[in-house]
Amino acid sequence: MLLRTSVAFAVFVLVLRPGTVSECAQEPCTHIPHGSGESLEGFLHGGACQASNQGYIMRWSQYTFHTHAIAQGWCEHRSFPCPTCPCSPLQPPHDRNERDVISVGLGYYDPMWPTWLNPISPIYSSTPENHDLDSRIPGTSSPPPDGRGFTPYYVGRYALVQQSNLDPTACNMTPTTVQWSMALKSVDCLPTFRTQPNGTIIRVPNDATRVSIVAPFGPTHPITIAIEAAAKAWNAALVSWGESPIFDETAQTTLCTGSQGGHCVNVVIQHYPDAPLVCAAAERDPGGEDGIVDNNARIYIRPDYSTDPTYLRHLLSQELGHLLGLDDAVCGINSVMSGIAACNSLGTPPTVPSSPTPSDALPVADTSYGPGSRATCAGWAQ
């Protein structure tokens, strides 16, 4: 797949590139390339693109590509006159052909067709000898200063790709650089994570042992039904993004034991002792630097909380979301981490989801537990 992708991108860049290098194939001059190649950086601006959002961007928002490409190679002609080369005017006795950035090809892979490169019109240098194309500087490239538009239409994983296209010089050096790409996740609600001061996300373990949930109220109790539904919904949502299930889907009746460590959550119907008027609370102890919870966690539910199944499921899905590393959100129907205005909202339809949405589960799969890109969309790394 990687080969197909590379070939597709190479074709894309070459097709878009003005001119051709084949005429210089027989160029007899010697060349001494200097420098280690070419450097290329990409930037994405706009929408809700923040340095702290760990590669998450908002679906439907308009973003703009910018690029900064630097050509570092050059070649030197030792023969004069150059007998066959029609490509470049040579100056005796030792012509030095600097490499110029001609254009930068852009494209992206979307979650719907992850192997198909969607090309975006390239950014061209607007000056004839441009070793340093920075499209953020007005007047140096076309079409900037507004860059190239990009709008994600799906929730999921995107890969933004760029490759610079250089003047091969009279010595026919490689005209394209390596491909650079950035993994971005498009969501309907930008996630925020519960982190330790060292930046690690505070979360229950996800290993060979599933996290047990203890709800000792009997199988037909509304809270037992709701917590089991919430656990199932989180597992299914995580599996859909390639993560393994985390929670045991059948509630246990025996209280957690110390030996279970962070693999057990007690659910209790009780006011949270230190803030008795809140609807619920999720409490846990991350033991070390890795942020993994290593003692039994606790979920408190206020005794007079709504008995409506939809509200209960929402509440418990949110509490499980906290245990998976997510913080509160202000995204209404787009995130189960959004809140409501009262603990006993009987009779009013909920304005928040009762189960995790794809936008909730993707950050857990990719950032809480997966290797997940920590890149920011203000600039990208290879």
Binding site: V278, A281, A282, N295, H322
Partner: protein, 212 residues
């Protein structure tokens, strides 16, 4: 049949009380955790706080007070399972007092408010409760700062709780009442309100509630 139902309910309540008691026993003290973890204990708690509007806050509060923070400090709760931030308030104006809170009159006795979150060093151990709705960099009120608090009295201790966490505390600055944190402002779509208008609204809502 009725007796059976009552009996069953009684049994369920008793069971829940038992479970709660056992659970509390399973909530190790911060000192115990710190000793096991090499001297530092961090307990993380995420609170689901209802984003109550002013009318709901007023209806739920026993006491609404515009006050100046005379002192703020970190304390352990009764069973040493959480660090709390305690504010000692000097009342400036009391737009609503539902119960016998004569001590809450301006210039009279101080009011103690506690909320979860804070850091404390005790017996060489560092104990911390990290609460998502009270980010310390943003939610901490400094000595001398003014705020309006919507409060209910703790059933056991001689202190008060905010009725809806940070949604029930309004920082006063430049003559305006403002949301305590950026999250609260965003969640409730708050914008700063002149303090006099804010207090007048609470008094009006409180008076209407008392008449009913």
């Amino acid at each position: 049949m009725g007796t059976m139902t009552i009996h069953r309910r009684y049994m369920t309540t008793a069971l829940l009380i038992c479970v709660a008691a056992t659970l509390d026993a399973q909530r190790p003290s911060l000192k115990e955790v710190a000793r096991a973890e090499g001297g530092t204990a961090v307990r993380v708690v995420d609170l689901y706080v209802p984003a109550m509007e002013i009318p709901a806050l007023t209806a739920a509060a026993e006491l609404v007070v515009h006050a100046r923070v005379a002192q703020q400090r970190s304390v352990l709760n009764k069973d040493e399972t959480a660090v709390l931030t305690e504010y000692t308030l000097q009342p400036l104006r009391v737009p609503l007092a539902r119960s016998a809170v004569s001590s809450a009159q301006p210039g009279e006795q101080q009011i103690i408010v506690r909320r979860p979150g804070g850091t404390l060093v005790v017996e060489g151990l560092t104990l911390k409760t990290d609460t998502n709705v009270y980010p310390e960099t943003e939610a901490a009120l400094k000595t001398g700062e003014e705020a309006v608090f919507f409060l209910v009295r703790d059933q056991e201790g001689g202190f008060y709780h905010p009725v809806a966490g940070p949604f029930a505390i309004f920082r006063v600055s430049a003559g305006k009442a403002k949301a305590l944190t950026a999250f609260v402002a965003k969640r409730r779509a708050d914008s700063p309100v002149p303090l006099t208008d804010f207090l007048a609204t609470v008094e009006k809502l409180g008076a209407a509630g008392l008449k009913r």
